[in-house]
């Protein structure tokens, strides 16, 4: 479902962020991406939703080689993915409901379907009762739940999360992880870049460690493996 073959990425400033990456992630897997800062985790993640293109090599998502994808095809790719960020990226002037609905509105979904789907995902993340509130009225954990709701509202096959617990306290982090596990048990692939050693070591999943742009470890049920 996600497959990288000999992926090499060099930025214009000379930094090599991916140096021969080969990896296969099957549909329905849950994968942690770990590694020191600046090792290439973000680039690895960004190449999956075509925010960055590899300098050479193939990145295959849902049977399409997105390394060779035309610009006009990127929107379709992104409709089949969900992306969650450390800083939530919610729109401050829109309510919880509107923030989630936004993702379907801009892909011109029918209003009736939008309402139905938004209510479903808000129910899943436990925020149905706060749907009229603004993001500023919510806690960090709740805001991240809204952003997860937005990422899955289009029923993606893959959810990509870049440090989703990075801004949260431990309690909220566990809440978020529960939601990701729930999403995963429904058959969605989850790829999560994280620095949270406790989570990785407790909720055991496949761990891919990236160092200097290369895969240093790839172990099912592995541990975090770094100090601090």
């Amino acid at each position: 479902m996600i497959s990288m073959k000999d992926v090499y990425k060099k930025y214009p400033n000379g930094v090599v962020a991916a140096n021969g990456i080969n990896v296969d992630i099957k549909q329905g897997e849950f994968v942690y991406v770990v590694g020191p800062s600046g090792a290439g985790k973000s680039t690895f993640i960004k190449m999956m939703y075509s925010e960055e293109k590899p300098t050479s090599g193939d990145v295959i998502i849902n049977n399409k080689n997105i390394a060779k994808m035309k610009k006009g095809q990127i929107p379709q790719l992104r409709r089949e993915l969900g992306v969650v960020f450390q800083d939530f990226k919610l729109l401050p002037k829109l309510s919880v409901f509107e923030n989630v609905a936004f993702a379907l509105e801009v892909i011109e979904e029918h209003p009736k379907i939008i309402k139905k789907r938004v209510m479903e995902v808000l129910d899943l993340v436990g925020l149905k009762h706060k749907m009229r509130m603004l993001p500023s009225e919510l806690s960090g954990g709740e805001q991240q739940r809204v952003s997860i709701a937005r990422s899955i509202v289009n029923v993606p096959k893959i959810v990509i999360a870049d440090e989703p617990t990075g801004n949260l306290d431990p309690e909220n982090s566990w809440e978020i992880m529960k939601i990701f596990e729930e999403i995963n048990t429904r058959g969605t692939t989850v790829v999560m870049a994280t620095h949270n050693r406790e989570i990785v070591n407790t909720i055991r999943k496949r761990v891919i460690a990236i160092e200097s742009g290369m895969i240093a470890r790839d172990i099912d049920g592995g541990d975090y493996g770094y100090e601090g």
């Binding site: 006009g72 379709q76 992104r78 990226k89 936004f102 509105e105 892909i107 209003p111």
Partner: protein, 304 residues
Amino acid sequence: MEVTTVMKGRTIRRHFRESFKSLGRNAWMTFASVSAVTVTLLLVGVFAIIMMNLNNTATSVEDDVEIKVLIEIIDDEQQAKAAENQLIKEVKNISGVAEVKYSTKDDELNILIDTLGDEFKLYEQSNPLRSALYVKASDPTQILAISDKIKKLDNVHNVVDGKDTYENLFSFLETGRNIGIVLILGLLFTVIFLISNTIRITIIARKDEIEIMKLVGATNSFVRIPFLLEGMWIGILGSIIPMAIVSTAYYNLHKVLAPELKGQLLQLLDVSPLIWQVNTLIILLGIFIGLWGSFMSVRKFLRV
């Protein structure tokens, strides 16, 4: 597979709503841009009206340009008749001559009396004037060459070709037109730059929104259209006042001046269709600079 771009009704409504919201959100920038468009289009309108009227005058002058050939006086009537006929034949044979009109010295005197007054009836007793030929060229720019050829013919006393007057008029018109075009082009670029700046500010203000749109798979055109519309509204808003001013001003000017100018060289064009032509020019130019201005910013700041 690319995302289909068939636009739905509610999408169009959404684009319109978003573009209007942006206009309001940057009220001051919008105001500045609309004002600049207004001033520019007003100048364009006034200039267009002046140029179209002058061009019309020039064309009618150009059509009227003719050579007047004064014929030598020959006392013997029969000889004179023969010489005149010979001359008419020779002039007609010159290439580029479209029309030759013969006017006897009595005709000439009548013209004089008509234009200058009855006092000249005194000369009816002994007419000192010469008979003349009025020559029109098929191409007015050939006037000079033709009059040179006529001068060389026999029995030609003098040739009046009015060349100086009409050449002066044309060079004056051309200078005026060039200065106007340079001025307006300069203004147009300033305005396009202003609009593109306004749109840039809108784009920056909505950076986060655009980022999320792209992330969840909104198409490029979906992201861009509201900004292009916003530029277009600025152009349209900026063309309203110029259209109103130019229309009422020309309507009133025409009402006052047209009767005064009867029989003069300078003639004002009729209010309709001139006003419709100029208004169309103003609004199309408004839309064009609005779209172009926003397109410049959109292309620069809305890359995937």
